[in-house]
């Protein structure tokens, strides 16, 4: 479509220029071809960039603004700038802290279990001698299935009389009406759904462990467990940290499973449930936005801890430099 824009001569120039800059970096002597490349790069990225900024950037700023207002859709006339009062209201509210504690608990426990099971599943998918294709195919089903569908499966499994699991308990047991059994059922549902994703990320790390290294360790008399902890885990560390980071952030926004399983009853609601309920039932945009900002800050802190403290390489940060 842009054949007429540039002659063969300056595209050849582009190739030469590219080679030249890759040898000595940071010389901004731009040839015509180089400029064309920059222009094309910007034009190709612009739509994606604009959509992402428009749909996330603006609402974030807007939600910070809303969080500083008294803004209840039921009483729109009382909208008023009130500074940090909403933050005070949320942070001194016991429901918020209960939801926060519940979310943290669910996140930590389910990610821990997922990590162990995911590692086991990754080893199976990577090393099994028979039926590797079948195992990988079947393991993808929990990953792909709609979370709400899976949640209904667990919900009905634990419903008294209807469910095959509930019937294994005492005949009058209704586990989804008690706090602790509910929490563990939520964790079970979450673990079932997301273990395959964790396993796939870990499997990518496993593929990086050189076979020779394992053989050499075995020759030197290392047991299977030693080979796992002393050889495989250190090599896999970057993959493990990325997998944990992504799953932790994802687990922190848990919503679908809780919505279907308990709808937040008996103090099983997460911070996402609180925010949603506040919007739909309370129609209080000021408080809702305050919670949104607080969740955003918490997630940012978690990501910061992973990246700074554990040294997780942010995926994409090395951006082509390694190859």
């Amino acid at each position: 479509m842009t054949v007429q824009d540039s002659t063969p001569a300056d595209t050849a120039g582009a190739t030469v220029a590219k080679e030249a800059t890759s040898h000595k970096k940071g010389k901004p002597a731009l040839s015509e071809g180089k400029r064309a490349e920059r222009r094309l790069g910007l034009w190709l990225c612009a739509p994606a960039f604009l959509v992402m900024i428009a749909v996330t950037g603006y609402p974030i700023v807007y939600s910070v603004w809303l969080s500083l207002q008294r803004y209840d859709l039921r009483f729109p006339a009382q909208q008023k700038f009130i500074g940090f009062d909403n933050y005070g209201a949320v942070l001194s509210n016991s429901y918020w802290w209960t939801a926060f504690g519940t979310t943290m608990f669910l996140t930590v426990v389910s990610v821990a279990i997922e990590f162990v099971l995911g590692m086991a599943l990754a080893l199976v998918m990577h090393r099994t001698l028979i039926g590797r294709g079948v195992v990988r195919t079947v393991a993808l089903i929990p990953y792909g299935i709609v979370t709400v569908v899976a949640a209904f499966s667990w919900y009905y499994a634990w419903t008294p009389k209807t469910g095959y699991l509930a019937n294994m308990l005492a005949s009058d047991a209704a586990p989804l009406t008690d706090q602790w059994p509910s929490l563990f059922i939520i964790i079970g549902a979450e673990v079932w759904k997301t273990t395959p994703f964790m396993a796939l990320l870990l499997m990518a790390g496993l593929a990086l462990v050189p076979d020779d290294l394992l053989k050499a360790a075995a020759m030197d008399g290392a047991t299977a467990w030693q080979r796992f902890t002393k050889v495989m885990l250190p090599v896999m560390k970057p993959a493990i940290l990325v997998a944990l980071l992504f799953r932790t952030l994802d687990a922190f926004r848990i919503f679908d499973n809780i919505f279907v399983l308990t709808n937040g009853a008996q103090d099983t609601g997460s911070v996402s449930m609180q925010t949603y309920n506040n919007l739909v039932k309370g129609l209080n945009l000021g408080i809702g936005s305050t919670m949104a900002v607080l969740i955003f800050i918490t997630v940012a802190i978690i990501a910061f801890i992973f990246i700074k403290v554990f040294g997780t390489a942010a995926p994409g940060s090395d951006n082509g430099g390694k190859r």
Partner: protein, 279 residues
């Protein structure tokens, strides 16, 4: 020893482990399938396998406009979002993988931020913005956030695929007088098709799966997707226990996922592992 030849004993052991994985992954799915085929009378017998089989639940849900409209919404919204996200993602990923330009790090960083972003933080502000713009409870009202959250996935996966494509061919095309744009269209695009297809599957699964936006940014059958509709499902008459019908609807929306997984297992695994972990 690691070097030992494959013995029958080891095969059997791996076989048992494999079966364990199959049971783990399949039981909850089969349970929903089982419930969807149970008759009203046997629904509460607690047996894993239906004692009496019936198609009645499926017949019922396809008679209600509540489910049919939701299915149309789900399919339409997911396909439109996937197409747009993959087209925009392909353009951006090509630039990220192949071109030098200012702002590349910014785009990669922004994508990473959005991939980690808690979606619930957007629900309240988007609700109000969409209400004011008249986008609330419309298809575009859901498509826009879906595209946004699918873009990082699509940019990462695609740029990983694009890095695997041989440079030389593009260079050769440029030597022969093709512009960068032509090299993109005529040389790289056909080579990239498998990666683009894989990404489309992953993005589709993501949009198909969404519940939070679907339930917060819709209010009627005009745009409510199946996952959201399921949670409001009350059965064809209000005195009926909806369990069988919820399960039938759940099975229907699981079918595309099963098809993707069965036919494109290799691609999905490659797609999920390529973008996520490098070096």
């Amino acid at each position: 020893m690691v070097m030992a030849t494959v013995t029958t004993g080891r095969k059997v052991r791996w076989g048992l482990v494999d079966i364990l994985v199959l049971v783990f992954a399949l039981v909850p799915v089969l349970w929903v399938v089982s419930l969807s085929f149970k008759t009203k009378d046997t629904l509460t017998d607690g047996s894993f396998i239906p004692q009496e089989w019936t198609w009645q639940n499926y017949a019922d849900i396809f008679k209600t406009s509540e489910f049919l409209l939701a299915l149309v919404n789900s399919i339409g919204i997911a396909i439109i979002s996937t197409v747009i996200a993959v087209v925009l993602g392909t353009m951006a990923a090509y630039a990220v993988a192949r071109l030098e330009f200012p702002g590349k790090q910014l785009l990669v960083g922004l994508s990473l931020l959005i991939a980690m972003f808690p979606q619930v933080s957007l629900v309240t502000p988007l609700f109000n913005i969409e209400r004011n713009l008249g986008l609330f409870d419309t298809w575009p009202g859901l498509i826009l956030p879906y595209i946004t959250f699918a873009l990082p996935l699509s940019i990462y996966t695609l740029s990983a695929f694009f890095r695997e494509i041989p440079w030389e061919l593009e260079k050769a095309a440029k030597m022969d007088g093709a512009t960068p744009a032509q090299a993109f269209r005529k040389v790289i695009a056909p080579l990239a098709a498998p990666g683009v297809f894989t990404t489309a599957i992953l993005v589709f699964i993501f949009c198909w799966n969404d519940f939070l936006f679907a339930i917060s940014l819709t209010s009627t059958t005009a745009s409510r997707t199946v996952p959201a509709a399921l949670s409001f499902f009350t059965g064809s008459s209000q005195f009926e226990d909806p369990t069988g019908q919820v399960c039938a609807a759940a099975v229907v929306i699981t079918i595309p996922i099963i098809v993707f997984v069965l036919f494109f297992q290799r691609r999905i695994v490659a797609g999920l592992t390529s973008g996520a972990v490098k070096g």
